[in-house]
């Protein structure tokens, strides 16, 4: 689960500014918890595309694919298959 740790680390640094007082749950919705706003999604997608060498199509840019650590891991693994 290298992807999961890389994603967690990116979110933690870029959107939570290494705030140790907050715990990021794997199934926590980024939007509902306010960790990422809608503009932040673009940053997240750039990171995913560059780090995992995949292309995220417009129709894949939906909360069901990208709104939590678990969803992201699942999405990346599916794309890599």
């Amino acid at each position: 689960m290298i992807e999961k740790e890389q994603i967690r680390s990116f979110i933690f640094k870029n959107f939570m500014f290494n705030d140790n007082s907050r715990v990021l749950k794997d199934n926590e919705s980024f939007l509902n918890s306010g960790i990422i706003d809608s503009t932040g999604v673009l940053e997240l997608v750039s990171f995913v595309e560059e780090t995992f060498n995949i292309q995220v199509n417009d129709d894949e840019l939906i909360p069901e694919n990208l709104d939590s650590v678990i969803q992201l891991v699942q999405f990346i693994q599916n794309k890599k298959k």
Binding site: F17, L31, E43, L61
Partner: protein, 661 residues
């Protein structure tokens, strides 16, 4: 307008306080450069820094009544003073000046605290009643003019700006952490609070009594809405007639002055309406002023020139560069006395200077129309969310958000996420904060940059719960759209718009803003309008467009509303030293409020080249920067280059009864 200050000691005022009190008055020089006066007796001192607009020769304050038993200091204008004065003179009152504000004294003689219902104006004043041994203070209905106070043992002190109070013994500036969290949530401290501990704001629409036994505040005016459909104005002809009459009259009264009156012209609908109404009343060459931006994304020069040409005004534009925004930010914060989340006040600070340099000290301006005639997107957003809540599974209804936020539609890659954002808590339409809770979510984001030890102090504090407790169910009976209007007027308008973007910026260079849309009668009328007359489907300010279409170019009537904003990232990129200095580890440790690591990560993130910065990261940078500046200036007493030199102050010593007129 002016700056006022005062101190009341219920035991006995120590005359040794006079030098400190003179400093209180002197520091308000930017509000009142035209003269300064102090009255003092055994218990009370009143002071005023004057911006002379009426009775240029004889209007010095403090002003006494006929027998010297009452003394007044007032910041502001009473626009209906001519009518009031006539009635009062017929009843036998004798006036000693030709100012507008003297009517307050004589109304007080006849009506006491009930005088407020007779006033049409913008004001914050204090009347010292020597016979009753009481101080009576009041602030206008909507909060155009500021008034702060503090209690120190047996003393009560007040001033137009908190900075004046810090000259008094026993008043020490200390950051109010809860107010900081409120500012990170609502853009400003909640009504009644200030950024400093033990300094309070007299709320808009309130008066206050202070004497040796007690002090208390009471509300005399508030925004009220019809309780059911039958209370609304539903006849469009009546609505057009009434809004035309009221705004014309509001403008007519606001042209009263013994100095020339100019107008701000933003290129938007509201200031175009007020300017066109001035032209209706006066055929002379009206001077208009506006801001143009170096950054074309913010610039409205085209529309400003269009309206100016159409109305034949003598127009001057100040061109705001990205760099200048960072250059003036420290001065801006010194004036706002609170952190700001956007840079929008900085160009207004420069505009005020520009107007002053052009020889004007009064301008009409269009604020208030968005709040009371449904100009803001938040009203449309609320309407769409309520509409979507009726069919939450509809795939088409969320597309409506693209109508009000075109950037959603232009970037198809974030479309679904935006829609998802607005669908959050969609069905909770009974929530009194249904319209605003989504926006207030930035609180935890911005507060997250504070140091953990500070956050622990306020870990139990939720500003939204606090607001709900303060409102005590007042807005619950209304529908979500009406609640949204109330919240905009109650929190955003007075505490942010009329303060950080209004009074504090315009008065920074001794210029007075006058606001026809905030005439009490206009607001009361707008609050009785049927919602469809304000927001017709998704067409904002429908009634204003309908009523004033004949006076303005079609392009202005039909253009989409462009919210007034100023560049953030580009401004700070042009001023890299500013951020490097204020976000340095040394500086952050000195002020001791923000977590160094978090701030450094944010700094790296937003200053990466070619990065699109989210608006909440821009807000975070601006909030941190201006909080640092505020702390440096007020808590650590940084030497400031722009403080006024000592000016002559006329002192009236009334410490013996004999001295009474």
């Amino acid at each position: 307008m002016c700056g006022i200050a005062g101190i009341f000691d219920c035991v006995k005022l120590n005359p040794d306080i006079l030098p400190s009190f003179k400093k209180c008055v002197n520091i308000l020089d930017h509000r009142g450069p035209d003269g300064k006066g102090i009255y003092f007796d055994e218990f009370t001192a009143l002071g005023q820094a004057r911006l002379s607009i009426f009775d240029l020769e004889g209007g010095q304050q403090p002003i006494p009544n006929e027998d010297g038993s009452l003394w007044l200091v007032c910041n502001g204008e009473i626009f209906n003073y001519i009518e009031l004065r006539k009635e009062l003179e017929n009843k036998g009152h004798v006036f000693s000046t030709h100012t507008d504000v003297e009517v307050i004294l004589h109304l007080y003689e006849d009506y006491g605290e009930n005088l407020l219902k007779y006033l049409n104006g913008q004001f914050a004043f204090a009347v010292w009643d020597r016979k009753k041994h009481s101080l009576f203070l009041a602030r206008d209905h909507i909060g155009i003019c500021p008034l702060y106070y503090s209690k120190i043992k047996d003393q009560f002190a007040f001033a137009s700006e908190a900075k004046a109070l810090f000259f008094l013994p026993g008043v020490t500036p200390e950051i109010n952490l809860q107010a900081l969290i409120q500012t990170f949530t609502f853009w400003a401290p909640l009504p009644g609070e200030s950024m400093f501990k033990n300094i309070f704001e007299l709320k808009p629409g309130y008066f206050m009594w202070v004497n040796e036994k007690k002090s208390y505040t009471r509300q005399y005016w508030k925004c009220e809405y019809p309780s059911d459909e039958t209370g609304y104005i539903t006849d469009p002809v009546q609505a057009v007639d009434e809004v035309s009459f009221l705004l014309e009259d509001a403008v007519r009264l606001r042209l009263r002055a013994d100095v020339p009156v100019g107008a701000y012209l933003s290129g938007g609908l509201d200031s175009s309406i007020t300017t066109s109404l001035v032209k209706l009343k006066n055929n002379n060459k009206l001077r208009t002023f506006s801001i143009g931006f170096e950054d074309v994304n913010f610039d409205e020069t085209y529309y400003q020139q269009l309206v100016s040409k159409n109305l034949n005004t003598d127009h001057s534009a100040f061109r705001c560069s990205n760099e200048s925004i960072g250059n003036v930010l420290e001065q801006v914060v010194w004036h706002t006395e609170k952190p700001i989340l956007r840079t929008a006040p900085a160009p207004l600070f420069q505009l005020s200077k520009f107007v002053k340099e052009n020889g004007f000290k009064v301008v009409l301006t269009g604020e208030g129309a968005d709040e009371f005639f449904s100009g803001y997107n938040i009203y449309k957003e609320t309407k769409i969310r309520c509409f979507n809540a009726r069919q939450p599974d509809s795939a088409l209804r969320p597309m409506l958000f693209s109508r009000i936020y075109p950037y959603i539609a232009t970037n198809s890659r974030t479309l679904k996420f935006w829609q998802s954002f607005f669908q959050k808590d969609l069905l909770k339409t009974d929530d009194p904060f249904y319209s605003h809770r989504l926006r207030w979510g930035n609180k935890s984001y911005l507060s997250g940059f504070l140091r953990n030890d500070l956050l622990q102090h306020v870990s139990d504090y939720d500003p939204v719960d606090d607001l709900q407790d303060r409102l005590a169910g007042y807005i619950d009976p209304y529908d979500p759209l009406t609640r949204a209007h109330f919240l905009e007027a109650h929190i955003f308008l007075a505490s942010y718009l009329l303060s950080s973007q209004g009074d504090r910026m315009i008065m920074s260079h001794g210029v007075e803003g006058r606001y026809p849309f905030l005439d009490k009668r206009v607001i009361e009328f707008a609050n009785r309008l049927h919602p469809n007359f304000k927001l017709r489907i998704l067409n904002e300010k429908w009634l204003l467009k309908k009523a004033f279409a004949g006076l303005l170019p079609d392009e202005v009537i039909k253009r989409n509303k462009q919210p007034y904003r100023a560049p953030v990232k580009a401004s700070f990129m042009s001023n890299k030293n500013l951020i490097d200095n204020w976000f340095s580890e040394q500086k952050l440790n000195e002020t001791g409020l923000f977590d160094v690591e978090k701030v450094n990560l944010l700094q790296k993130k937003i200053f990466q080249p070619d990065t699109v910065v989210s608006s909440r990261d821009e807000m975070a940078v601006t909030a941190i920067l201006t909080t640092e500046m505020l702390t440096d200036q007020y808590i650590f007493n940084k030497q400031l280059s722009w403080l006024p030199t000592d000016k002559y102050i006329k002192v009236l010593d009334y410490r013996t009864e004999k001295a009474m007129v």
